[in-house]
């Protein structure tokens, strides 16, 4: 009996020691670095467009028959959104962002959340971009239960279910990552991407393929365009004070196939 108590006491003692150690290992509380001020008098911008060189691949419409509610929500067939093009090869759902050139600058994280809605069993928008630490608000606009399952490389993975009418899910991604795929395991066709950046210079193209990176301080930057199927293309651009430059990105249709 005595031996047993002793053993228990030892275990408790070890546990306490172990936990203590864990605490001491932990990184000291890091205060977010104060934002480096940007002189608004000298800022310029980079605009441009993204196009696809070649014919986009052909897709079969999504079969939503597994869930009657989803199928009913659409009057016309829904196409997968891996490659969405507009007129003259304009490429949508491309994130254009400043990859390099800002040095040690740091930026305030926007207070307003980025929103990812689930409508008709599709994510809207298909591609979301936000800053590391910025809140992502996931809304369920459907009358069915979804689960939101980001599968990041650098960030923390999570997977939460969201019944109809449930409160929005609010999460942050702490680390820059282009881009985190998001899935709904209940409705396997549902796919979205979340680009996470440490600066506010990013833009998700629409059907017109246009982008506009505003308020860039003068400097030389590496810009990168990311597309979920075709990967990344980058370019270097230098802007002077109050200068506005135009850049265009072209993805080769065959490159991703």
């Amino acid at each position: 009996m005595k031996a047993r108590y002793f053993a228990i006491a030892m275990i408790v003692a070890l546990a306490v020691v172990g936990c203590g150690k864990k605490e001491s290992e932990q990184a000291p509380e890091q205060k977010p670095a104060a934002a480096t001020p940007v002189d608004m008098a000298t800022v310029g911008s980079v605009t441009g467009s993204v196009t696809l060189d070649g014919a986009p691949p052909k897709f079969k419409p999504i079969n939503m028959s597994a869930e009657a509610y989803c199928a009913k929500a659409h009057s016309s067939p829904v196409m997968p959104q891996d490659v969405v093009t507009g007129d003259k090869g304009a490429l949508a759902n491309v994130i254009v962002y400043v990859k390099d050139g800002l040095g040690d600058r740091s930026f305030d994280v926007p207070k307003a959340p980025a929103v990812l809605d689930q409508k008709g069993c599709m994510y809207e928008p298909h591609v979301v971009a936000l800053m590391a630490g910025q809140e992502l608000q996931v809304v369920n606009g459907d009358q069915t239960t979804h689960n939101i399952h980001p599968m990041p490389k650098d960030n923390r993975e999570w997977n939460k279910s969201q019944p109809p009418g449930a409160a929005p899910i609010e999460e942050i991604f702490a680390r820059p990552e282009v881009a985190v795929p998001v899935k709904c395991n209940v409705h396997p066709w549902m796919k979205s991407y979340v680009g996470v950046f440490k600066n506010p210079y990013f833009f998700v193209t629409g059907k017109d393929g246009k982008f506009d990176l505003k308020n860039l301080p003068p400097g030389t930057y590496t810009l990168e365009a990311w597309q979920e199927k075709y990967g990344v293309v980058d370019q270097t651009v230098t802007i002077g004070p109050k200068e506005s430059k135009s850049v265009s990105f072209v993805f080769k249709a065959s490159s991703g196939d």
Binding site: V12, A15, N155, R156, R175
Partner: protein, 1071 residues
């Protein structure tokens, strides 16, 4: 020159006298030494000499008798006939045997002739082949030349003087191939010849074996030739120290670290030496003509079977019997009867004590009835309530350990849950992705760890559930006393325990004045006051009496005191129950003894009430299936910790029995009022006393649920040094053999463990007499156990004497790994719930019921079934279900699942899963059944066979359905055997076939008739008049019926019912 002194001692005195005296003394000393050498220090010499004489005389007589018998047998015509047959057959086989012998001889000669050459050739060729093999393939030329060398080597010839026949030899040339084939040829031929000779001799050998069988049957004892040998050995007995020496296991021959066991007992107890008295022979003192001699330790062991199990060479004598096996200089020392020898020889009445050392894990040890009684008394009389004993029910201790583990795991989980967000934050803030992933990984691992803690806690809670079910207390729950008892009865009972119930388990305490009042007040004031009991309508006491006597209550409970006592001693005598118990409570108890007033939560350390359940919107309902605390989800105590099972009576039946019981009172019973019990000032003192006397060891008491055992642990009490047993003022008396009553002890001094245990158990206050205790709380607390007879006292003393710290190596301990382990474990449960009160489980064992007056003569048929073959009879899967729910129904509970026709009821014991598992394994092991059971595949019936089986089933000569129940109430009113529909799930086909053909062999006295089938040409054939179709059937009739029974459906049965006579039409049949 100096003058000489007048009396020069050298010249004037002679030393003759002192020298003479010295010489005498020396001679005397020499004589004494010689005497000691031969007799004094070596008493075994004279024992062996005397044994040799007596044994020789016995053997001479025995030889004479044996020779006369042998002569008679050897000259009997049967013997002569058998012998001449054998001799004739042997003679007939001789010529051909001789021929075969000759052939074998020739072959052996040939083999001898060629052996040298063959070995040489084989060696040579083997070496050449090796030389060839080691050359690499690339070196083609060498390879080729070596191959040629091999071929050449094989061609080499040897000249051998080859025996062509037994007489002539020819010189012949043998090359390697010829040698090889000749050798295998010789071997094959020789083997064939040997087999041929065996075949040739077989008839003769068989006749010899028959002759030997005949002789051993007619002459059971040892043959006179063996006796002659023994006589020779005993007449010229070799007087020496006869020693058994067992080296510790695993030591080498040269080990010098001391032997494991050295035994010289046989030096005096010569009759136990198997060299002189073989185990087949039993030798008593009377055989030696020494029946009245008190100093003739010559008998052989009276139970040779025990020696067969425990071989003398391994065990010797003293491990079982006690004593000092090495001492041979005196009887007293050899028997270890001196002050500092811890293991004196056991007296005959305590022989079983010797089993306990190795059989400590047994509850029931075969061939040790006294020890078994002792263990049962120790457990059932409540010694276990105060004294811990390793291996005895310690579920309460396990539960406490379990709870501590759960609490500790919950703390760990809390800590981990705090750590997870910290690690995640550290990951978010990390400088690079690799570090971040490390922290994220740790957080994830910790999450998984938390979930594995949950799994562990879940398992521990399940185990708690099982353990909680197994925890039983010896005495009743004292939380219920206000709901249950007449108030004034409590102080009366405490003071006059044995007057009220002479055979009670409750020991008699030695209370100081005022203590009874304080204890009674505490118990009363501390008890639960509600929720109130349901008010019960009165029942019919006459019906109640009938039910009490027929449902099986009396297997455990008795009625009437002293000589009039009838019934079992396992539970309370109920002769005066009406004086103490409240009717409403008794109805609840009889209806379901396990029902609690309030569930107890061991984590909150209190009894929960309706308010706790209401807080969570739950009804105040709790049972084994709803045993989690509404507040924190932990396992609750939802049952009364009693072994009394639920008899599944209707509430009306419970009222009838309770009405009968409440009427049972002593005519002169009077109780004085006890208002002091409400005096709140007494409560605190009462609580202190209740703790002091250890009441919570046997009773559940509010606030004292976790009180430990207050007494000494007794696991090794038998090897406690004598100084640590406090004889107090009786120490001198004990040493001088004066008994406490002043008389002389017939066995002399009793300053030993046995003396202490006997006196302590008979009168625990004895060793306190005359002692001065300024603080009354320092007095000895042990109450006087209610020991009913000398046998009971002796059984307990035997058990304690045997409870020693083992001195034998661990591999001597009886911890079998095979089926015997299941038997060992099962007995703990079978005795815990008194299964043996109703059932016969072991062969030869009697149940309590078998001796009750209501089950004598033709009423034997109403007894519960014997379970001697249960493991072979039933399917273990079914048995599991049955033990969990003997009604075999989820809704229709007021019945027996199998024997619906019996009045006596198989109750629901609410056994834990663990107990059910152990019991099922126990029954299977008792019947030597393989584990796990795989039901054999039965050949499906053909249509013709089904028709035949139907015919046989309903045949007037085999009216199976007359006795066996069918589920039809009109029919079953007179049924006396189970429904056949149960057979498929319940029975094992092989047992069923054995049962059909000879049930009396399995359960003597069964109502099922034997002789329904007769053996005919290797199959069972129905013994009565057969339907014509069956007469032509060449299969086994019993097997046919078994297959039919195992395929029986309700539809088939009701169809049969249409064809069979109703049981009420007495015996006429439908002819």
């Amino acid at each position: 020159m100096p003058e000489l002194p007048p009396d020069d001692p050298i010249t004037s005195r002679s030393l003759a006298v002192p020298l003479l005296v010295s010489a005498f003394l020396l001679i005397l000393t020499l004589g004494w030494a010689l005497y000691q050498e031969d007799f004094g220090l070596r008493p075994w010499r004279s024992y062996q000499r005397r044994f040799g004489e007596a044994y020789s005389a016995y053997l001479q007589k025995a030889i004479a008798g044996q020779e006369a018998q042998e002569k008679a047998v050897y000259s009997s015509p049967e013997y002569l006939k058998l012998r001449s047959t054998a001799e004739d057959l042997e003679k007939a086989a001789k010529p051909s045997d001789a021929e075969i012998e000759k052939k074998i001889e020739l072959l052996d000669k040939q083999r001898a002739a060629m052996t040298d050459a063959f070995q040489d050739a084989r060696g040579r060729v083997g070496a050449l082949i090796y030389d060839y093999e080691i050359v690499p393939e690339s070196d083609k030329s060498t390879k080729q030349s070596r191959l040629e060398a091999v071929n050449k080597g094989m061609e080499k010839t040897y000249r051998i003087d080859w025996p062509a026949s037994l007489t002539e030899t020819k010189t012949e040339k043998f090359d390697y191939d010829r040698l090889n084939s000749a050798f295998t040829d010789i071997l094959a031929k020789r083997a064939a010849l040997v087999a041929q000779r065996g075949e040739n001799d077989r008839p003769g050998k068989e006749a010899r074996a028959k002759l030997a069988d005949y002789v051993s049957q007619k002459l059971p004892g040892l043959p006179s030739s063996t006796l002659e040998g023994l006589l020779h050995a005993s007449a010229s007995i070799d007087i020496h120290i006869r020693q058994i020496n067992v080296s510790p296991p695993g030591t080498s021959l040269n080990y010098l670290g001391g032997a494991g066991l050295v035994e010289r007992c046989q030096s005096c107890h010569v009759g136990t030496d198997p060299q002189l008295v073989p185990l087949q022979m039993e030798l008593t003192k009377a055989d030696l003509g020494l029946a009245k001699n008190k100093d003739a330790p010559f008998a052989s062991h009276p139970d040779p079977e025990l020696l067969r199990i425990h071989s003398l060479g391994k065990f010797g004598c003293s491990p079982c019997h006690g004593g000092n096996g090495r001492a041979i200089d005196s009887v007293r020392r050899g028997h270890g009867r001196y002050e500092h020898w811890l293991w004196p020889l056991y007296y005959p009445e305590n022989y079983d004590a010797g089993c306990q050392q190795c059989h400590a894990a047994d509850m029931v040890t075969e061939r040790a009835p006294v020890l078994n009684d002792g263990r049962q008394l120790f457990r059932q009389r409540g010694c276990i309530g105060c004294h811990r004993y390793q291996g005895f029910d310690n579920q309460d201790e396990q539960l406490v350990g379990n709870r501590q583990q759960i609490t500790q795991l919950s703390d760990e989980k809390k800590q981990d849950e705090l750590d997870i967000p910290r690690l995640q934050k550290a990951g978010d803030d990390a400088a690079d992705n690799a570090t971040a992933q490390k922290f994220y990984g740790q957080a994830t691992n910790l999450t998984v760890r938390v979930s594995s803690i949950d799994a562990k806690v879940e398992q521990l809670e399940l185990l708690s559930h099982s353990l909680q079910q197994e925890v039983k207390r010896v005495g009743p729950d004292l939380k219920d006393v206000r709901l249950k008892l007449r108030k004034e009865w409590i102080p009366y009972w405490l003071e006059n325990t044995r007057e009220f119930r002479p055979a009670t388990k409750m020991p008699q305490f030695r209370f100081a004045p005022g203590e009874v009042q304080a204890i009674a007040a505490f118990i009363w004031q501390n008890a639960l006051t509600g929720p109130a009991l349901e008010k019960q309508k009165p029942g019919d006491p006459v019906k109640g009496k009938t039910l009490f006597e027929s449902r099986g209550c009396m297997a455990c409970h008795s009625m009437g005191e002293g000589a009039n006592r009838v019934g079992g001693t396992f539970a309370a005598n109920l002769s005066r129950i009406g004086e103490k118990e409240n009717y409403d409570y008794l109805v609840r108890w009889v209806h379901n003894p396990r029902q609690r007033t309030r569930p107890y939560c061991a984590y909150e350390k209190r009894d929960l009430g309706p308010e706790d359940y209401a807080k969570h919107g739950l009804p105040f309902a709790f049972d084994l299936d709803h045993s989690r605390c509404p507040n924190d989800g932990h396992e609750l105590v939802v049952h009364q910790p009693t072994v009394m099972p639920n008899l599944r009576l209707t509430i009306e039946e419970a009222r009838d029995i309770a009405s009968y019981l409440t009427g049972l009172k002593h005519p002169d019973a009077k109780y004085v009022s006890a208002d002091f019990m409400d005096d709140s000032k007494l409560k605190a003192k009462g609580e202190e006393l209740v703790k002091h006397y250890g009441c919570a060891g046997c009773h559940e008491i509010r606030g004292l649920e976790e009180e430990g055992r207050i007494g000494t642990e007794l696991t090794n009490e038998g090897s406690k040094p004598i100084e640590r047993l406090d004889f107090a003022l009786y120490t001198q008396d004990a040493k001088h053999g004066v008994l406490p009553d002043g008389k002389a002890s017939p066995r002399g001094p009793w300053y030993d463990s046995k003396g202490f245990f006997e006196n302590k158990l008979s009168n625990p206050g004895l060793f306190e007499l005359g002692k001065y205790h300024p603080n009354p709380m320092e007095r000895l607390r042990m109450p006087k156990p209610n020991i009913q007879s000398k046998d009971e006292l002796n059984a307990l003393v035997t058990f304690l004497l045997g409870s020693v710290d083992p001195t034998l190596p661990p591999d001597y301990m009886y911890k079998p790994a095979d089926q015997r382990h299941a038997i060992q474990e099962g007995w703990w449960i079978a005795t815990k719930y008194n299964c043996i009160g109703c059932h016969q489980i072991g062969i030869g064992q009697r149940s309590v019921m078998m001796d009750l007056p209501q089950y004598q003569g033709e009423n034997k048929i109403n007894l519960p079934p014997a379970l001697t073959s249960e493991g072979a009879r039933v399917n273990p899967e079914w048995l599991k279900r049955f033990l969990a729910n003997p009604a075999l129904s989820a809704t229709d509970l007021n019945r027996n699942g199998v024997r619906s026709y019996l009045q006596v009821r198989m109750p629901t014991f609410s056994l834990s899963d663990n107990e059910i598992r152990k019991l099922v394994l126990f029954f299977e092991a008792m019947s030597s059944q393989q584990q796990p059971f795989i039901p054999p595949k039965l050949e499906p019936l053909t249509d013709a066979e089904r028709a035949m089986a139907r015919g046989l089933f309903t045949s007037p000569a085999a009216p199976c359905l007359k006795c066996h129940a069918t589920g039809n109430p009109a029919h079953d009113k007179n049924a006396t055997a189970p429904n056949f529909l149960l057979a498929r799930d319940r029975l094992r086909p092989a047992w069923t076939a054995r049962w059909l053909t000879d049930p009396a062999k399995i359960i003597p006295g069964t109502a099922m008739p034997s002789g329904l089938f007769r053996r005919e040409a290797g199959r069972w054939v129905f013994a009565g008049p057969m339907p014509p179709a069956l007469q032509k059937y060449s299969g086994d009739h019993a097997d046919l019926l078994v297959r039919y029974m195992f395929s029986l459906t309700p539809a088939e049965q009701s169809m049969l019912m249409g064809r069979t006579p109703a049981p009420s039409s007495s015996g006429g049949g439908n002819r």
